[in-house]
């Protein structure tokens, strides 16, 4: 007899997963709708419809699941626990809808990365709780025969339960669901804290960190394995499982704290992938293809986005996850090496003057734009330049901001036509012919050291070649280094001028000057 409790979890799960054929069909329709939705998400024109299709698919799946019990009864099946306790379900649905809807309505566009992190966390929590609920159900089934749920009655009840036919693999998926769900939950919360500035965005590193994480991970897996395959009494197994829950929650925290704020796009897409895998694991427990397929789709999407982010930074996923990036270089420097000489600064009125008589302008937005919420002013300046006859475009670096596509969303909010947003590969060869480049709160993604200096931590990272433009204005509050903690030789170039202000202030004054000149 392998772990009795978990074998019984399979029995408990097996009992509730009887699914009516009509519901199965509805699930199939939902699967097709999800696939169609993701396919249509690949074009701006069809993306809105895609979101609608996906939400309809979800609604269909929920309604079908709720109807399942009644359909089974109508079909004459003997359903145990057929009495749906509507209080629990409706209560949960209403509370969740309220919180979700209010949150989604109130969150400002600039805080989208934080929102996605929080939503991700609630998805992880759901997977964790489902697996726990199945575990508790199993325990109670075991106790059903006896009176008081003491260890002895558990033992007796379990011994009396036929466990044949249930594979310990189901037990393993219960624990995987707990493990991944738990890590996703606390990991997302830490990512939220770092993104929102409630926690320091710095990488938290201490000696022996990787060893400690590795040992904890091994301990968690060992405990999980023991709970599944060790021959335990249900009480002990339940204790083990609760131990796994606690360890998974701690692991989620420890795995994300060493990763710095600017690497959060990678973390968020990876956690997104995890939440998909957790959903698929839940699907394995409940033998539900819809959960497995939808979970796999999300898992794949997270993986691909993670990969794209890593490529854009020219770093391996391992180096991002092991964390501490920027710390070593930031502490290792500080000598004369980092001092800037020959830096020319400029003023908003000078910038306004330059705006006359330029024929091509490219904006390079970065995280600084998001922080100072200057996207609307940026669009206004762009329109003013267009009115003067210049072509205006926006160069989007894949890792600008704190989320994949972060800049696109920000500028879309400010009504910048998406045709003007150009990706790095397409726009890089155009900088040579560009009169004016305005860098707004970006640093590492325009650092030419990535190309010139093989010693730089940024070496090999694809950058926007703004240094090739005729004139570059860098709007930045100070000469402080970016996330990578290195000096940016761009600031010393002859064609570059610094405008020391935050993006909002600089753009505001420039716009005023421009209007005054007219």
């Amino acid at each position: 007899m392998s772990s009795l409790l978990l074998a019984d979890a399979a029995a408990a799960a097996g009992e509730v997963v009887k699914v009516h054929w009509a519901v199965q069909l509805a699930y199939m329709v939902a699967i097709i709708m999800f696939v169609m939705a993701i396919k249509r998400l690949s074009k701006v024109r069809t993306a809105r419809g895609a979101n609608l299709i996906a939400s309809m698919a979800m609604l269909l799946a929920v309604v079908a699941t709720l109807a399942n019990g009644h359909l089974l009864q109508l079909a004459g099946a003997r359903v145990e626990h057929a009495v749906v306790d509507w209080h629990w379900i409706v209560g949960g649905l209403v509370a969740g809808t309220l919180v979700g809807a209010i949150g989604a309505r109130l969150v400002p566009m600039t805080q989208m990365p934080e929102m996605v992190a929080l939503l991700n966390g609630s998805g992880g929590a759901a997977s964790l709780l489902v697996a726990l609920a199945v575990t508790f159900q199993a325990t109670s089934h075991a106790a059903w025969a006896g009176a008081a749920p003491t260890l002895a009655t558990f033992q007796a009840a379990v011994d009396a339960t036929p466990t044949a036919g249930h594979s310990p693999i189901v037990g393993a998926t219960v624990l995987l669901s707990i493990l991944i769900g738990g890590i996703t939950l606390t990991g997302s919360l830490i990512a939220y804290g770092k993104l929102s500035g409630k926690l320091s965005g710095n990488a938290v590193v201490y000696p022996g960190q990787h060893a400690i994480n590795f040992l904890l991970g091994a301990l968690t897996l060992g405990l999980a394995g023991y709970a599944v395959y060790g021959e335990l009494a249900p009480g002990a197994a339940l204790g083990m499982i609760l131990g796994v829950v606690a360890l998974a929650l701690v692991l989620g925290v420890l795995l994300v704290i060493p990763i710095g704020g600017a690497d959060m796009p990678v973390v968020i897409s990876l956690l997104n992938s995890y939440s998909g895998v957790a959903a698929a694991m839940t699907g394995f427990i409940l033998e539900n293809n819809l959960l497995i397929i939808a979970g796999a789709l999300v898992g794949a999407s997270g993986l691909i986005l993670t990969q794209i982010m890593c490529q854009a930074m020219n770093r391996s996923l391992a180096s991002v996850l092991l964390g501490g990036f920027g710390m070593t270089t930031a502490t290792g420097t500080g000598g004369g090496k980092d001092e800037y000489k020959n830096v020319k600064s400029t003023t908003p009125d000078e910038l306004a003057l330059m705006c006359d008589g330029v024929s091509s302008v490219i904006f390079v937005p970065g995280y600084g734009l998001a922080v100072s919420q200057a996207q609307h002013l940026c669009r206004e300046l762009g329109e003013a330049l267009e009115a003067k006859g210049a072509t205006v475009r926006y160069a989007i670096h894949p890792v600008a901001g704190r989320m994949p596509g972060h800049m696109n969303v920000l500028l879309a909010e400010a009504n910048v036509p998406y045709e003007q947003l150009v990706e790095m590969e397409q726009i890089n060869s155009d900088f040579k012919q560009t009169d004016l480049v305005i860098v707004l709160g970006a640093n590492d993604v325009v650092n030419p050291a990535a190309i010139d200096d093989p010693q730089s931590p940024l070496a090999g990272m694809p950058i926007l070649n703004v240094h090739e433009a005729r004139n570059v204005i860098v709007v930045k509050r100070s000469l402080s280094p970016g996330y990578a903690g290195v000096k940016n030789p761009l600031f010393e170039l002859d064609n570059c001028r610094m405008l020391f202000d935050d993006a909002k202030g600089a753009l505001q004054t420039t716009l005023q000057e421009l209007k005054a000149a007219v």
Partner: protein, 96 residues
């Protein structure tokens, strides 16, 4: 269902997902992420199934209800946020 069947479905779905998602342009990566995030709230079915098996001790019920709440936040919030973002992408097209 045989566990092998479930694994097969899982692996094939991952390949399908990779094929589909590679075609999504970077402009739409944020909506893709929050949309995918909403879809991962599909665990709501698991949550509903657990809450459904009522009559058993309160622990399982409470767990199930909490799971329903968490999953619903994920689903409703996710789709609404994605909708808001995509609406912004759409507006300019009409304005143009």
């Amino acid at each position: 269902m045989l566990f092998v069947t479930l694994i097969t479905v899982f692996v094939v779905a991952i390949f399908l997902g990779v094929e589909l998602i590679q075609k999504v342009p970077p402009t739409l990566h944020t909506p893709l992420m929050s949309g995918a995030n909403a879809i991962s709230g599909i665990t709501i079915l698991g949550a509903l199934t657990c809450a459904y098996g009522a009559g058993d001790p309160q622990t399982a019920n409470v767990m199930g209800a909490l799971a329903v709440t968490a999953a619903t936040i994920n689903v409703v919030g996710g789709f609404m946020v994605t909708g808001r973002m995509l609406a912004m992408f759409g507006e300019k097209k009409e304005a143009k």
